[in-house]
Symmetry: C2
Subunit: 339 residues, 2 copies
Amino acid sequence: MSRRKVRLTDVAAAAGTSAKTASRVLNGDPRVAVATRARVERAIAELQYRPDPLARSLRKGTDETIGVVIDSIADPFFASVTSEIEKVAFANGLTVTVASTGRSADRERLLLDGMVRRKVAGVIVAPASLNHAYLGGASCAVVFIDRGPVALDVDAVLVDDFHGARTAVAHLIAHGHRRIAYVGDLLNMQTADQRLAGYRAAHAAADLPVDESLIAADCSEIADATERAGQLLARPDAPTAIFTANTRCSMGVAPALHALSRTDVALVGFGDFLMAASLQPAVTVIDHSPEVIGQLAAERLFHRLAGSGEPSRRIEAPLRLIVRGSGELPPSTPVRRDN
Amino acid sequence: MSRRKVRLTDVAAAAGTSAKTASRVLNGDPRVAVATRARVERAIAELQYRPDPLARSLRKGTDETIGVVIDSIADPFFASVTSEIEKVAFANGLTVTVASTGRSADRERLLLDGMVRRKVAGVIVAPASLNHAYLGGASCAVVFIDRGPVALDVDAVLVDDFHGARTAVAHLIAHGHRRIAYVGDLLNMQTADQRLAGYRAAHAAADLPVDESLIAADCSEIADATERAGQLLARPDAPTAIFTANTRCSMGVAPALHALSRTDVALVGFGDFLMAASLQPAVTVIDHSPEVIGQLAAERLFHRLAGSGEPSRRIEAPLRLIVRGSGELPPSTPVRRDN
DNA sequence: ACCACTCGTGACATCGATTACCTACCCAGC
DNA sequence: GCTGGGTAGGTAATCGATGTCACGAGTGGT
């Protein structure tokens, strides 16, 4: 009740000093006599004073908030990343503001612009745009995740999309598959592009030709992946295996296989997901732990905020193949006529 | 480059007027001559001026931000809710700050306190504490989700936990089950409490006794649910069906059944989840769409912000039973000796 | 011709804290 | 005794926008 509006001047008055000195105590300025400091601290405790973050931000020109800009909060991958960032931020006493781009470059700019204007201490961004030079003038720390910065020199926490995809596809090839479909995101996404390159590289390494018609690189939603998987499998020359280039696609393709009872089609996905181990067959994946990515990104950001001046780095989050069954199925030879 | 620090006074100067008048134009004050307004508007456009949200908040005493306080962003249910809230907020030009309580009442207070101090326009809270009187003094709009407010008169968007659970369990009973386990959250959660009550009511309605030893109400994490399911099924008098009282528990129990190859045990879960339809058997659930809850909550909040003075309401989000297979399995009579 | 009023505007205080700059004092050293 | 230097603390400007209030110019009624 009574706690309405306790200002710094109130504290100062109670401590019999001026606002400036109270402010010094608050900010840990050493030039304050111990006795005075004690009086101020007692006043703060008694009045339950807490500084107004808005006023402080306005004056200091920096807010104790970190912004997180991602594709969608509903995407389990980004949800986990965000959750981890929030944990680290909370531990450091900062708050987190999230906003989702829905993969729109315009919206990314809009959101980041707003955050910069709000003077956030830093931002962690999964970019949707293709050129980030516009962030150059920003005075806050920036860390990119999932996709790297273009035309901008900042830290990034990424995974080795190329090698991850290559490993996944090589795994399928090693199990005898020759006709492997690619189901992934639109290629204007850096990650998608790299993963498709990995898919091709795996083929090249095994001297296998790539059948371009098996490449479905236009699945931005779960439903798209489901639909494309259905189409691919309906073909007379259907693939015997599918590589899904991201979690969303895996979560679209797995149900499609299930719905068609195609337990004979091998599947390896990029990105682990809940229930992947309990599907029939369990889904083999290349796991890039969102928790680790979130943590690395947040730590990197705080490192910067603490004033590290080191040159920016691209940090690589670990990848590992989790063998569960779906990726080890042998190629089936269904109704075939030729060959 | 040049856009650094365009202040209202700069705009005013460019338009040959005073800051106050420029401010009037910005805030749509009608008392401005059309000519002046035009000049100011042109200056704004030319200088690409955008008001400083911090300064504005400080002065107006309210921030264009809404706070979302939930258990965990990593929880798919809350992630979806949050995502929906963020969509609505973005559409209204507000930003969203999220923070997770990890189910700690202390942390809930801490977080909400911080948000209120930040003068957020409103908060949407999935409470962890058991008494919310402390929010009474807050000057911002408040909407509760998932769990209702206690000792506080604000809007809430809830689901009918009692009837949902009752329906789910009645469904299992209708399919012949007599020994139905309950796997759920700690009972100090309102929702858990109500759902267990629904479980009991369904038994009572069918004149079935409740075997208290089949009630595992201490699973706050996915792993807990997995473990408890394993224990329950290892008993000589194992249940023939399981009701999981929330998504987390469903996601723990389903893999447990799968790992034990117990495709004979029926399962109905409270809350839908990704892949539920693709598990073997597909999981029958009582669905309470997080999207709908998030949207209703956000809309309600904006309704309040728009100045609605109506008395607070408890809005009920719809529930529906999604029949998929796991809930319709007949009771199996495994290695039984008695009866 | 004068009062009463509205209309468009600007000067100045204000939101709550921080910072630049300056004072007062104490003690050492010449 | 006076200067120099360091320390504790105060005063006022500042961050950027908005609220208060007052002021000059038209307008219309009498």
